[in-house]
């Protein structure tokens, strides 16, 4: 009965819009997806979407921002941004244990921006933009400069509308060392229309969010089609936050989770500004494995990441959801820990091999677990200049055979100016491991270029593997249809495949490091060697030695003078 009411309500809602023909100027939706993982951990993914039908671009002076955060709106118009994607992640997503995430992100900070083609000096705009964002998000994004920025030619296509393909207007940078903490969460929460006062954002308490195995928060801004024919465009701001809580440390090994246990809060209301506020619980494996309480009659199905999943839906805009206690504390309890996880079809790993401080070898492993389909992947590697890649040693092998990439884009590094960029399109055979290896030499830095903790090592950002993976179920290609937010992030162009981005682990590489604790000894030794050793050696080498007659005594000299006067030969 309840779903009927809801259906009627939805129909009415759409009719209303159609009838009144009102453009949807503002819209805010919030959503929480909870997926119990096979490892016993639990994955919670928040999405907050603000859509705003406006045009920043053509010199329009926008002064009234309403739900859209003004700070970001100004950034978009000032720097002529077409798309902006920024993520802050603490931890590494464990694909083989947790499956694919809804929004992948590499450890540390990642920023990629498409600029409008009206921008003339992209590099300086990029530099300014990173500094401004650094202030907005309280992060070290100001450390992004030409030495860690690349322009990928194929891996990062715009996610919104627009057919820009000229990668001159794209900039991509990662800061693998960036540490994410409360100071980054607070400015992120401030961008929400309800702040952390009401709605799902109430759950975002840092003492719990940072007591987890994985924490990733992101902001995505892109232009979107408002309707099917794409007559009008609007700006979409998506704020996402993904967190995984650990079975052993957060739940004391008990396979039992509740909202309170995860976030130390329960829900009492939706954000009043939100047009939709929902909680989805992935119950595809229910009821064999776990039970959810309170039970909800609302079920929804969605094709997400190549799989058809079933979700229990809790609509927070309905008072009935909160029950008589006026508070929603979802409880998820496992009945058994049996069963295997559906193995993700694509997986990547990376490590450094070799010993010694002169050379090394980067190994990137790409796994295709599809039993019979091969598919192409795009591999992007951005390596700092101080690891000098020997690109002639690049090998790609699958199943023991050479696997020639069909496309390679390589931009060599310039010392202290720009990093290496290596992009290639590799076909992964079914059920195989493809190994990409490349050797490198470690450069000796100038002594001022070392970090304050040089013996910690130097970071190399994650490799990015992007691919259209063959899907088992038909994917939804209609981008304007009303769908849960989590399944509509990556645009889907065809039914038979879905887009996946996998990040490998960042690398920590040791460079030859001088012993900085002994500058005094070094100075003393150098001075001594130069002064004593070199000086006398130089003296010995350049002086000519000749045997000299011993100096005649005074008496002899006088005698000689007398003899000379007498005309007798001297003694």
């Amino acid at each position: 009965a309840c779903s009927n009411i809801r259906g009627v309500f939805l129909v009415f809602f759409f009719l209303e819009r159609k009838l009144w023909n009102l453009p949807l100027l503002y819209d805010f939706q919030e959503e929480l997806v909870i997926r119990p993982l096979h490892s016993g951990d639990i994955y919670a993914s928040f999405q907050f979407r603000t859509v705003w039908e406006t045009d920043f671009t053509r010199g329009n002076k926008v002064s009234h921002y309403r739900l859209f955060p003004k700070s970001l709106g100004q950034v978009i118009s000032k720097f002529s941004v077409r798309e902006l994607h920024i993520s802050f992640t603490q931890g590494y997503w464990r694909t083989m244990q947790w499956g694919q995430p809804f929004q992948p992100a590499p450890p540390g900070a990642e920023l990629w921006v498409w600029f409008q083609d009206s921008v003339t000096d992209v590099d300086s705009t990029w530099k300014e933009l990173t500094n401004v964002l650094s202030g907005i998000f309280c992060a070290s994004l100001n450390f992004i400069d030409s030495t860690n920025t690349v322009q990928p030619s194929a891996s990062f296509k715009p996610l919104g509308i627009g057919n820009v393909t000229d990668h001159r207007f794209l900039r991509y940078a990662t800061l693998p060392r960036e540490i994410v903490c409360t100071e980054n969460l607070t400015p992120w929460k401030k961008l929400l229309p309800c702040g952390s006062k009401a709605g799902l954002a109430v759950l975002l308490k840092s003492e719990k969010l940072f007591h987890s195995s994985f924490h990733s928060q992101a902001v995505h801004i892109r232009p979107m089609c408002q309707d099917w024919e794409c007559k009008t465009t609007s700006w979409e701001l998506r704020q996402t936050l993904n967190v995984v809580f650990d079975l052993h440390t957060s739940a004391q090994g008990k396979r039992e989770w509740s909202l309170f246990k995860m976030f130390s809060r329960t829900l009492t209301e939706a954000c009043p500004l939100a047009s939709s506020s929902k909680i989805y619980i992935d119950i595809t494996d229910n009821p064999e494995q776990f039970e959810v309480s309170p039970a909800t009659p609302l079920l929804s199905q969605a094709s997400v990441l190549g799989d058809r999943r079933t979700f229990s839906v809790y609509d927070l805009t309905q008072q009935i959801t909160f029950g008589t206690v006026r508070s929603l504390n979802l409880l998820i309890r496992w009945k058994s820990s049996e069963g295997d996880m559906l193995r993700p079809l694509l997986h990547g790993e990376r490590y450094v091999a070799g010993y010694g401080l002169q050379t090394g070898e980067i190994h990137t492993l790409m796994y295709n677990y599809h039993p019979y389909r091969s598919f192409p992947v795009l591999l992007l590697d951005s390596v700092p200049w101080y690891l000098r890649l020997y690109i002639h040693t690049l090998t790609v092998t699958s199943k023991g055979k050479d696997n020639k990439p069909s496309y390679i884009h390589y931009q060599p590094s310039k010392d202290r100016v720009r990093p290496h960029l290596l992009e290639m399109l590799v076909q992964l055979p079914p059920n195989s491991v493809t190994e990409v290896t490349v050797q490198f030499e470690r450069a000796l830095l100038k002594w001022t270029e070392y970090t304050p903790d040089p013996n910690h090592g130097f970071y190399v950002g994650s490799s990015v593997i992007s691919s259209l993976v063959p899907s088992i179920v038909a994917m939804d290609t209609n981008s304007t249809r009303e769908r849960p937010l989590f399944s509509s992030f990556f645009p889907c162009k065809e039914e038979s495949s879905y887009f996946v981005r996998v990040y490998t682990e960042p690398l920590l590489v040791n460079l030859p490091t001088p012993d900085f604790s002994m500058p005094y000894n070094v100075i003393c030794l150098t001075c001594t060697v130069v002064a004593v050793g070199y000086g006398s050696l130089y003296n010995l080498l350049t002086r000519s030695f000749q045997i000299e007659e011993p100096n005649p005594g005074l008496a002899k000299r006088i005698a000689n003078v007398i003899r000379k006067m007498r005309g007798v030969p001297p003694l």
């Binding site: 931890g91 693998p176 440390t249 090994g253 190994h363 090592g457």
Partner: protein
């Protein structure tokens, strides 16, 4: 240097050095030995101290509670090991998974160049099992390793049990900032080598590693083993950390199996610390890894082996305490912000609480090496001054040098070819030796090596006669000058990499280099030369080592041990890349042959 640019003073200095050459050399040699022996005297050494800030002042509370359960797990492991007849891979995988680790297995196989009779293995097939505790919110860039070898028979089951117990306990803690890899390796170093080559990357960059050996439920003391491949040592802070926690928790700790004593001023106390230091020197000089940690050091990973020892002392330590010791060590290693680099990498330890750094022990070697330089100077002066026969002193230098170049080159080339033969033949000719002689594989290799070595003595000392006629007085001097300088460079480089090996070789080879001329009595000198040759040095070292360990052996057993040490050296070289065997065969032995050649110069 002003001294040298003044010809008069230079002449005076040189004449002093040549006149008093022999006494100075003797004094230097004595001083070198005395200096070295003095290193073990406690007032001359430094107390160990923690240099690394991150491990220094931080408070760590150890609470590992489940020692009993760890022992039970160890017994369970032993039962499964017995049932499977080897490494119970499936059981280990399941157990580690149940403890919430990410588990991987690695199979490896390796064929040895010849059967290893000590460990009875030839074609080695095995499996390593390792579980990774992923640190929360860490990007997989850093890791620590705790390993326990899975050995044949009843050994080390308690270590595996404790490792699994610690894994379970650590998994529930929240403070890990680095991944922790729990590794159970089969076939000790071969498994470790395979793991390091292939799977090390899974944990990012490994900061430190400990290998655990524990074969009884209660122990009396913990022994720390530091010596790794090619005499590499971990950073001293790792030893300091172990010592600090043993002190804190109240566990008896030893190094080289020797407890430390407080009576440094008594003769027995001093000889005790000499013994401890000499054991370290002998182990380091051998260049082989003395525990499963030995191969980590090559990868710039600080590593040590910790052995539980159960002797017949009253004071016993239970597994709980050992667990707490390890917990404390890992908690502190977890705090590291940088790799261990603050403290010394080159040191000797006369006891666990005292150390001798490179700055203190190098003069001992320097005093020995300077003898070679003095002898070289002496020879140079003798060569430069006109021979007494010619009065005018204006000998055409071209004429004087040209025949000698050949007479120097020939022995050099021949002795090095002998060295190459010594390096290659034992392994390559073992098949042939097996067909012709009734010996086992290992014996074939070792005996071939000894045969080549002895044949080398007979071979080169007559060659110059065929090439350049009669050897001249001048000829042997040039040859000796070359040989002495060669030895100086060789020993200098060796001592920089592996002080102990360099020092032991210097102790025996420097006197040889100093006294040998064609004019000394042949038979006794030849005897001394053979006694001081590298092979005999090794033989004495074997006996001396046994003596130091207080397990003296008969000559018969010693000889067997000697043969097995040679075969182990060759195996270590081909398996792990130990450098001692090629160093001796390709460089030291040919150098010694040059002196042999000089003795029989005619």
């Amino acid at each position: 240097m002003g001294l040298l640019s003044d010809p008069n003073r230079r002449r005076a200095l040189i004449s002093l050095l040549t006149r008093l050459n022999a006494p100075i050399c003797v004094v230097c040699y004595m001083a070198g030995v005395v200096w070295f022996m003095g290193l073990a005297f406690e007032p001359f050494t430094l107390r160990t101290y923690m240099s690394e800030n991150a491990m220094g002042s931080t408070m760590v509370e150890e609470r590992f509670p489940s020692g009993e359960r760890a022992l039970a797990t160890g017994r369970e492991f032993a039962a499964h090991k017995k049932k499977v007849g080897g490494m119970p891979v499936d059981w280990l995988v399941k157990t580690m998974q149940a403890r919430g680790l990410e588990v991987f297995t690695q199979t490896f196989s390796r064929t040895l160049p010849f059967p290893d009779e000590n460990k009875e293995r030839y074609m080695v097939k095995g499996t390593n099992v390792y579980g990774i505790l992923r640190a929360p919110r860490a990007p997989r860039t850093e890791a620590l390793v705790l390993s326990a070898p899975c050995t044949q028979g009843d050994h080390n089951n308690q270590a595996v049990g404790l490792l699994l117990g610690l894994a379970q306990y650590f998994r529930n803690q929240i403070y890990w900032a680095k991944d922790i890899i729990f590794l159970i390796n089969e076939h000790d170093l071969i498994g470790m080598q395979a793991w390091l080559e292939v799977n090390m990357g899974r944990g990012g960059s490994i900061q430190a590693a400990l290998s655990l050996e524990l074969s009884s439920d209660v122990i009396t003391s913990m022994d720390l083993v530091l010596e790794g491949l090619n005499g590499q040592l971990p950073n001293l802070d790792l030893a300091n950390l172990f010592y600090a926690f043993c002190q804190k928790i109240g566990v008896l700790c030893t190094i080289q199996g020797k407890l430390q004593r407080n009576d440094w001023d008594s003769v027995s106390g001093y000889s005790h610390s000499v013994q401890t230091m000499m054991l370290m020197v002998m182990k380091q000089a051998s260049g082989r890894p003395w525990g499963d940690h030995g191969l980590f050091l090559r990868y710039h990973i600080e590593a040590a082996t910790i052995k539980g020892i159960n002797s017949f002392r009253q004071y016993k330590t239970d597994t709980n305490t050992i667990g707490r010791l390890l917990e404390g060590m890992y908690r502190k290693l977890n705090n590291l912000l940088e790799r261990l680099h603050q403290s010394y990498f080159f040191y000797l330890m006369p006891s666990l609480s005292h150390f001798v750094s490179i700055g203190y022990y190098m003069p001992a070697f320097g005093l020995l090496a300077v003898i070679l330089l003095l002898r070289a100077l002496d020879l140079w002066v003798q060569l430069a001054s006109p021979p007494p026969g010619t009065e005018d002193g204006v000998v055409d230098t071209e004429q004087m040098w040209s025949p000698d170049v050949l007479s120097v080159l020939t022995p050099l080339v021949i002795s090095h070819l002998t060295g190459v033969a010594l390096y290659y033949l034992p392994i390559h000719f073992q098949k042939m030796a097996l067909e012709h002689f009734p010996v086992s594989d290992t014996e074939a290799v070792v005996l071939t090596a000894i045969a080549v070595y002895t044949a080398g003595l007979a071979l080169p000392h007559n060659t110059h006669r065929f090439v350049s006629g009669e050897g001249t007085e001048h000829g042997w001097r040039v040859l000796k000058l070359v040989a002495v300088l060669y030895l100086a460079v060789l020993l200098g480089c060796t001592a920089l990499i592996n002080f102990s090996l360099g020092f032991i070789l210097a102790l025996t080879l420097v006197p040889v280099a100093a006294f040998v001329t064609p004019h000394v009595p042949k038979v006794p000198s030849a005897f001394v030369l053979v006694i001081l040759s590298p092979a005999c040095t090794l033989l004495f070292s074997v006996f001396f080592f046994q003596e130091l360990q207080e397990v003296p052996i008969s000559f018969q057993d010693g000889w067997v041990l000697y043969l097995s040490v040679i075969s182990q050296g060759i195996l270590d070289h081909s398996l792990y890349g130990s450098l001692v065997y090629p160093l001796i065969a390709l460089l030291v032995y040919p150098c010694w042959l040059l002196f042999w050649n000089i003795l029989f110069w005619e």
